[in-house]
Amino acid sequence: MPDTDAEETAAAPASTAGKGAGGIAGFFRTAEIDTRLLGMIGALIIMWIGFNIMSGGTFLTARNLWNLTVQTSVVAIMATGMVLIIVTRNIDLSVGSALAAIGMAMALLQTEILPDIFGIGHPAIWIISLAAGIAMGAAIGGLQGAIVAYVGVPSFIVTLGGLLVWRGVAWWMASGRTIAPMDATFQIFGGGARGTIGGTWTWVIGIAGCIGIIALMVSRRRQRIKFGFTPRPMWAEIGIGTVVCAVVIGAVAVINSYPMPELLARKYAEENGIAWPEGGLTIAQGLATPVLVALVVALVMQFMATRTRYGRYVYAIGGNPEAAELAGVKTRWTIVKTFMLMGVLVAIAAAVLIARLNAATSGMGQLSELYVIAAAVIGGTSLSGGVGTIPGAVLGALVMQSLISGMVLMGVDAPLQDIVVGIVLIVAVALDSFYQRKAV
């Protein structure tokens, strides 16, 4: 889970939050808990309970929560990159259109070009398609980033142009046709019938996650003691470790309690030579591939943002571009790299999306740039730069998707859904800036 490294996000303002306040704030400060992230989790829980009551108990079901994780993946993957873009005081409005163009290219490769060379179903097909998509994403990002960083055109303009250009490219590549179906192996990226890892593996990942979290906490503690700093109090270490692991185990339990639909289970039983008993079988699907991809992306991005030089430079540029330049940071190249990274994440999101839809259309991803930016901003990313975290963006994506999903379950009309999402975005940012002003 990405929310374990609360105190690692040293660049976030949250570490100063609660300064000068007594009791509760003091408790969180001693325990080194990111109060901002905690607040978001609290808001999410309240929202979930609210939706559950209003939808007559359908929201907090394993089935809905499982679907929610799958639906969040595409936006969450891109939001982790958008955080870094916005932290460097830039914006990328082209992600929705780039998603369509890259998705279309990958779809064309695996349906119309590569099968002629390798034959249908050859394993090279999905590998080459994915690699080509990622390369295309990096190229699109690199091109836009270079125009921003070296030519000096504001990113708003460059990517606004990109929004039109890549949408046009997506249409032009297949003259507006819908391309389907995807390669059988490639479809695994989308979840769906074969795109889940099963109950056992989900437990393995959950337990490995817990061990990883504990190992990280232990190594952090050792490191601090080695350099003679006061470590986090033992009660806080144990408390946080227990809560986080309980959340991970709980999430795995919920995911695994959503069984395969009967038809699929029957097929699975046949394939694995299990006798179909009277009254049916309950086989856990486990984590869906898109969710796994999003989790891996979030972990890698969190690592890059907080543990590498590149990440440090991204935040330094956001905090004071001139200071970063004077300190010898290659600021322009860092910005190009950030846009390239965004492009790669768009390609990964595109792979998940076309695999899930089992089709590519030139209209895919419309308005998703706005959802991605909204997720980052709800997650605490400041548009003035320098501030934002990866776990925040993932949570932001989850908040947005919960909102949409909850309203769908309640039978709210689509136009009203848009109105609510728009208002929530503004209120979330307003609350945040109010809170920040109080904290500093």
């Binding site: 040293a10 905090g319 200071a323 010898g328 940071v329």
Partner: protein
């Protein structure tokens, strides 16, 4: 090296430096030099061109023409990385700190310490910062907060620590005490004397004529982008230097009327 040889080759020679912004000559053919273990003060009114001149040495700005020699060798300084590679560190008037990052992050910005896995070694950087701060500003201990929430003196300490940590040979200080109270100013003065005794050459830009007389060995005065002259501190009075700053003439060339006007 003996004192003699040090004196023969200046640490820094800047010759006939010119920088123009549009049609304005911000720096118009200025030459200054600096020896090891020496403090040269650059003084002049606002907009005289001191900061622009010094930016050509720190790599923040490229000179349109002119020559820079370090240890008698011609060098080109195109960016701050070049300057740092030559052992030139700068404390900017604006401090040049990333407000959202903590003190160790700022101190090691661009030169982060890494663990053996290539990741940032935050603990090592914090530990090093603590050591430097113990010397520069012992009262400053809350290192892990973003510098935006630090006091002026603490922020200044971070900027100074950033420059002195890396065994610089040449340190440029642009108004190092502008944001400081009297006690902290004294501290910076002590630091300058200490650095000087270690053989480091310092260019000091300052508005405060008392600071200049207290710390500098030689004083270079610039007016409207041109060098008025460079004088030994021991050969002149504060009035002489004020005359150079305002009238733009060397003490000997100032007429009696001009001298009276100055005090009028």
């Amino acid at each position: 090296m003996t004192q003699e040889t040090i004196q023969q080759t200046p640490l820094v020679e800047m010759k006939d430096i010119r920088v123009a912004f549009g049609g304005v000559h911000a720096v118009d053919g200025v030459s200054v030099d600096l020896y090891a273990g020496e403090v040269v003060a650059l003084v002049g009114g606002n907009g005289a061109g001191k900061t622009t001149l010094i930016k050509t040495l720190s790599g923040a700005h490229k000179a349109d023409s002119g020559q820079i020699k370090i240890d008698g060798q011609d060098v080109t300084i195109d960016n701050p990385r070049d300057a740092k590679a030559l052992g030139i560190e700068t404390i900017y008037q604006t401090l040049a700190l990333a407000e959202n990052i903590d003190a160790p992050g700022n101190m090691f910005l661009g030169r982060e310490l890494k663990t053996r896995w290539g990741t940032l070694d935050d603990s090592a950087m914090e530990s090093e910062t603590r050591k430097v701060m113990a010397r520069l500003n012992p009262k400053f201990t809350n290192l892990k907060v973003p510098v935006a929430s630090l006091s002026g003196g603490q922020r200044q300490s971070v900027a100074i620590a950033k420059a002195v940590y890396y065994n610089a040979r040449i340190i440029i200080m642009d108004e190092p005490t502008a944001a400081l109270g009297p006690a902290e100013t004294t501290q910076v003065g002590e630091l300058i004397k200490q650095l000087k005794s270690e053989g480091i050459g310092i260019f000091l830009i300052s508005h405060d004529i008392h600071d200049v007389f207290d710390l500098a060995d030689r004083i270079s005065v610039v007016l409207q982008g041109k060098l008025v002259g460079t004088v030994d501190k021991d050969d002149v009075t504060m009035d002489d230097v004020l005359g150079m700053i305002i009238i733009g003439k060397l003490p000997d060339d100032v007429t009696q009327t001009e001298r009276e006007q100055l005090h009028g």
